[in-house]
Subunit: 364 residues, 2 copies
DNA sequence: CTGAAAGCGCTAACAT
DNA sequence: ATGTTAGCGCTTTCAG
């Protein structure tokens, strides 16, 4: 899987074949072509193009005109090779199907663009092998930086390689990776959700979260426990379940808890888990909130549409995304100047609970 | 906006500064380093790495080991410069926030990865200027190909440049661009939706679509009209409205139609329009389907959650995405071999209507 | 089977 | 203000 084969030999399009390409379509004009046309040296053309100070206005205009006429587009690979850095920035996420990651990707792409950087999207599917492959590719492209939602346990290779560029962790955080990170305050999120239920008289509160090997999973359960502790109530561990965020896992866990523990409320510990959970509750035709109070994770347009409005935790996604984007831009700039990036800095954005109609008070 | 400034002078991170970078972090090992370590020539190392036939097994092993030990990662920019093609593939879309594009991006990233290609995500925000900039960047990176959801009117520059690489249009299609395209059968989608309403006795059917300058907008209205024509009923143009897909535009159009035309049903002609429309209907506290029958565009998890289940048109997104992905991979391969890509090929995927609970029959 | 050398397009010293 | 030159890392003839 993570075999360190320097050349992507799994490529279906053989490189040797790719090599022939383009030539068939048309050879793109180069700086030399412009130079020849104008009867000047290549270096003059570069300087004119870059707006170098010691270049005559006349020359600059002539060059610009010629470039435009020929449809000249600078070859960024050549430039990168000389200058040692590209304007590429990677974003490695486990998936982009769920709105959260998509929104983040989008916001970051925007941020990068504004800084003249280009966002490369890479989906890891939460597989360390794919993650490593993407890191390798980005390193190979001499990417300027990297934003990553790390898998639970990156390969050794990934850990080694990633240090070659400025990177920041987002959403999830592996302390061992020791980098800047920007996450949600997961503990706070679930603590508030659980507290809300406790405050309204619930005691048998089920928690259905994602695997605890992830920082998110860990902090979220912790939030659940803290809420009970602060209320001075013992935590009944049987009410805590973790599962893969797919329909099947959630269905089983839910069925099991509902039939054996008779919870009066349930808290979801993840976006995809929330969706699956709501679907199972629909299938079960449960009367919410009479039979069961429900708190979701993540707020979307449709939150208002589930039953009479889902009580849920709202994640400040835009804030996180743009913070991540601008921090990366800064780090890239620093690295560029050879500034040893200071100590890793972490930011936590606080989600907040949005009470709607899927929770009811048990107090008289 | 579309000024042909060859160098991205709008870059916030000055290139000259970027240039200094990396060096500070660590100089990545090159093929030469391996060669020196092993006391062989650089060319031998390349060949060993590529699995060239005429290389001894012993040498290959030694090189592989050394490469791995040093954490060697081939510099794709250098390779691209030599071979003239990169393994980058661009995806330019107006936005990635709405699930459709996100799902498409994701499926395509997968497809590209399997072919050893890397997907670069670029968001145009439906702005021809940004679109052109992205095309320029991709050309500059010597991208192998491009998948694009074109804006209504790409700049002249964009039109010129895009021809330098294999590309295919997706979702929307501009005939002038004359390329492969893979779209939904928009006309069919809205025709079916409208037909469903006509068949169940509706006559005053409102249509709220996106701007007709886009192929999608055009075909969808056409579907509306066709449905009436085929039923032998005259089309009342007053019931047709187009609007930007934002909350405000939709609200106004809807208010207006509802108050002056008393429609018994409404058909949405776009994903984002659907969402906005549902929100307005909520705000108006309309009784659906008693006061108004509603047909949406696009099917999502939440479609089941709006009222008692939204009657809507289901888009075969996965099919479109993977078709697009594999077609592009094929085209890239062909271009690579200098094969003049045959005539532009188009594919239309048929959406289908999913009747749920937001439409009711007016027949006795 | 391996080495030497040239060159992809661009930039940055170093000349003029 | 402009020209010359060297070289980034890799691939690919052309020679052994």
């Amino acid at each position: 899987m993570s075999a360190a084969i320097p050349n992507p030999s799994r490529a279906l399009v053989p490189r040797t074949v790719l090599a022939a390409s383009k030539r068939a379509i048309a050879a793109p004009p180069t700086i030399k072509d412009i130079a020849r046309d104008l009867g000047v040296a290549a270096s003059t053309v570069t300087r004119a193009l870059q707006g170098h100070p010691r270049i005559s206005e006349a020359m600059r205009a002539k060059v610009a005109a010629a470039a435009l006429a020929m449809g000249y587009v600078p070859d960024s690979t050549a430039r990168t090779m000389r200058t040692k850095v590209s304007r590429l920035v990677g974003f490695i996420a486990p998936n982009v199907e769920d709105n959260d990651s998509a929104a983040i990707a989008c916001a970051m792409a925007d941020c990068c663009n504004r800084a003249g950087l280009q966002l490369v999207l890479a989906v890891s599917n939460d597989d360390p092998g794919q993650e490593a492959a993407h890191i390798r590719t980005l390193i190979g492209a001499r990417a300027a930086g990297l934003i990553i939602v790390p898998t639970a346990s990156p390969t050794d290779e990934a850990r080694m390689l990633i240090r070659r560029l400025p990177y920041i962790q987002v959403i999830r955080r592996l302390a061992e990776l020791d980098s800047d990170y920007i996450v949600f305050d997961d503990e706070h999120a679930i603590r508030e959700a659980t507290k809300h239920l406790i405050d309204t008289g619930h005691r048998r509160i089920a928690y259905l979260g994602s695997l605890a090997r992830l920082s998110t999973g860990m902090h979220r359960v912790e939030g659940y426990r803290k809420a009970f502790k602060r209320a001075g109530i013992a935590v009944d561990e049987r009410y805590i379940r973790t599962t893969a965020p797919d329909g099947m896992g959630v269905r089983e866990a839910l069925h099991d808890m509902l039939s054996t523990l008779a919870p009066t409320a349930i808290v979801a510990g993840g976006s995809r888990i929330t969706v699956a959970m709501l679907q199972v509750i629909d299938a079960l035709k449960l009367d919410v909130p009479r039979d069961l109070s429900v708190v979701g994770f993540g707020d979307h347009v449709w939150s208002n549409w589930w039953r009479d409005g889902l009580t849920t935790v709202c994640l400040p996604i835009q804030e996180l995304a743009s913070a991540a984007g601008s921090l990366l831009v800064r780090r890239v700039g620093e690295a560029a100047q050879g500034i040893a990036a200071g100590p890793a800095r972490g930011t936590r954005f606080r989600p907040r609970l949005i009470p709607r109609s899927t929770t009811r008070s048990l107090k008289t």
